[in-house]
Amino acid sequence: MKLYVKAFSSYRGDLNAFDVKKELKTKYKLDTRRQDSFIHLAVYGAQLLKDKIEINSNDELYVTSGVGNIDVLQKTNNYVHEEKEFIKPFDFINMLGNTTSYYVASSLGLKDKNAFQISDNFTFINTLVSVCASLNASKKEAILGSVDLSTNPEEVIKRVLGVSEETKVTSGVNYQKLSLSSLGALAEVEFDAKIHSLDEVEALLKKTKSKVVVSMRCERLDSKKDNEFFETMPSHYLNQAIETKEDLVYVDCFDDRYKIMKVNVLI
């Protein structure tokens, strides 16, 4: 399966930390009330994308995440169960996954399909599969946002993600505008729903001339691995490949099952 990237945007909290909420209010004149850090992060990434490309109101929107809005769950869990307070209506609403995609859609003026989806492991590659199948049916274009927010303490998100206690986790948001058409595309992304074996992956990596990035979950693969983690990391590396104009093979893994995403930069 193939999709073409027409535009992209990235923000990583560990590389360029600033007050995202303030930036949304001052630079983009957006109402940030009744929202929380996860939603602010998602909307901010969307605005960065909007700065780069025209958004059509009938573009389809997909938002994916490793675990979703952990911030609001943590906060609400604290005051409901620890402090015995009554749940606040907007915290309840923000717990629903599609609240984030609603605010993203509103900030971009989107009125079409809007899906908040999560997949256990492989969440970014599986969402690409879903986006591609949807565009095959609708013949529209799609905006895909990948959002992951770290927690305080970090141990909460590490437990949820199932990574070791020493792993460096980061907050980040990455967007792509995706199309079935190569016209004016920055990059071609290849992926599929198929699971690969270790042997297949090793054979592919021997042949490839592209840069290779391997998820830290691929313990049995003898290759350079990313040294920090969030579930939608492939989305970050996809954008980075375009930024650096360097073709990429990204290998993701869980339970000895492998998935591959190839990025062929076209500019």
Partner: protein
């Protein structure tokens, strides 16, 4: 061109399995339980459509209950077919795994030894998929009350694109104290019964459900003609009183399915029984359909099962038509709009084109078009 069809369904509702739920609807005798929810200054007992055999707010119990429903469909597939079957979940359920992780690490007195077991909202699906020999591709759609209806549309796309031969789409909603208290905080819960489209409607009654459908291109009397889903609303929790956002999604679903309003045999409304949503929905029905349209609501029988209602109400509707009728709308005495009255008595029906509507918080609106061929 081959169509994507609904090949089979299975469900667990407050009334029991598919057969028991059908019986409750036929006898118009729906069992309701009660739960306590918090209000601003007190706790109150609310009606709640709970499973007969309580599934506790515990991940192992929930997984076991989901697996049983999914397995009742996957058991009918060969090993080769199962390996070509994706498992797509629709749920609005608050992620209890995350709450467990918060409790295990954020509070000193609850602190537990660190364990790096991956847990996400989709973990049950992945584990069930492995255990039942399904394709490892799983996906969870969380778009509030449209979650599992949207999951069905995703499954249809994946099959039409040739990515998978089959998909099992499962809607899941189990009692969650946080979720129930959240609805209470928004003052959307009835203390009595749901009265869809009635002038005296005063809110919804929540319900538990696990419901699944098997879809694929094999021959079936039930065809998924199409559907449309969008995000269009006035605010995050409401649409225009005119229901313009709802009528738009209904019209687009019909256009994509190549169906005219006059061809629709009957309509299953979302019908939450809340004052604003029912008003918007009946205005949208008036905008799209003539007054003689047959429409009904299923939530008075099984409760509002949130993210599960897409598949639960689809499966129930199909089981009723398979049994030769469309159910009446319970608890209705005087309609909001006198020309548009939901079914007051069961209507004989064993085939036709049907529209099923689902509308949720976050502006998600979904309309499905299904068809049952005459025998």
């Amino acid at each position: 061109m081959r169509s994507v069809n609904v090949l089979d369904y299975a469900l667990k509702s407050s009334q029991g399995d598919a057969r028991e739920t059908l019986e409750s609807i036929k006898t118009q005798n729906a069992r309701v339980s009660f739960k306590e929810v918090a209000t601003f200054d007190d706790t109150v007992k609310i009606p709640y459509h709970l499973f007969k055999d309580e599934v506790k707010e515990d991940s192992r119990e929930i997984k076991k209950a989901i697996k049983k429903v999914v397995q009742s469909l996957s058991d009918k597939l060969s090993a080769r077919q199962r390996a070509n079957t994706a498992l797509i979940v629709g749920t609005a359920l608050v992620d209890i795994n995350i709450v467990a992780s918060v409790n295990a690490s954020a509070y000193d007195y609850k602190k537990q030894p660190y364990a790096s077991a991956k847990k996400s909202v989709d973990s049950f699906a992945q584990e069930i998929s492995n255990e039942l020999g399904l394709n490892p591709f799983t996906m969870t759609i969380s778009t509030a009350c449209t979650s599992s209806a949207n999951a069905l549309l995703e499954a249809r796309n994946l099959i039409k694109s040739g990515v998978f031969e089959y998909a099992i789409v499962v809607g899941v909603e189990i009692f969650s104290q946080m979720m129930s208290d959240g609805f209470s905080s928004m003052k959307l819960l009835s203390l009595d019964v749901q009265r869809p489209f009635d002038v005296n409607r005063d809110g919804l009654v929540l319900g538990e459900a696990i419901a699944a459908v098997l879809v694929g291109e094999d021959d079936s009397s039930w065809r998924l003609r199409g559907g449309f889903s969008n995000c269009d609303s006035l605010t995050i929790t409401s649409v225009s009183p005119s229901g313009g956002e709802y009528s738009k999604v209904m019209r687009e679903a019909m256009r994509l399915a190549n169906v005219a309003a006059k061809d629709v045999t009957a309509l299953k409304a979302h019908a939450t029984s809340t004052p604003a949503n029912d008003m918007a929905e009946i205005n949208a029905i008036r905008e799209v359909f003539a007054p003689d349209v047959a429409f009904t609501a299923l939530k008075p029988y099984v409760g509002h099962t949130l993210g599960a209602c897409g598949i639960l109400e689809l499966a129930i509707f199909m089981s009723c038509v398979d049994d030769g009728f469309i159910p009446k709308t319970l608890n209705h005495s005087e309609s909001i709009i006198k020309e548009y009255v939901p079914l007051q008595e069961p209507k004989a029906c064993d085939s036709g084109v049907f529209m099923l509507n689902y509308f949720g918080f976050g502006g998600n609106n979904t309309s499905l078009i299904i068809q049952k061929e005459s025998l």
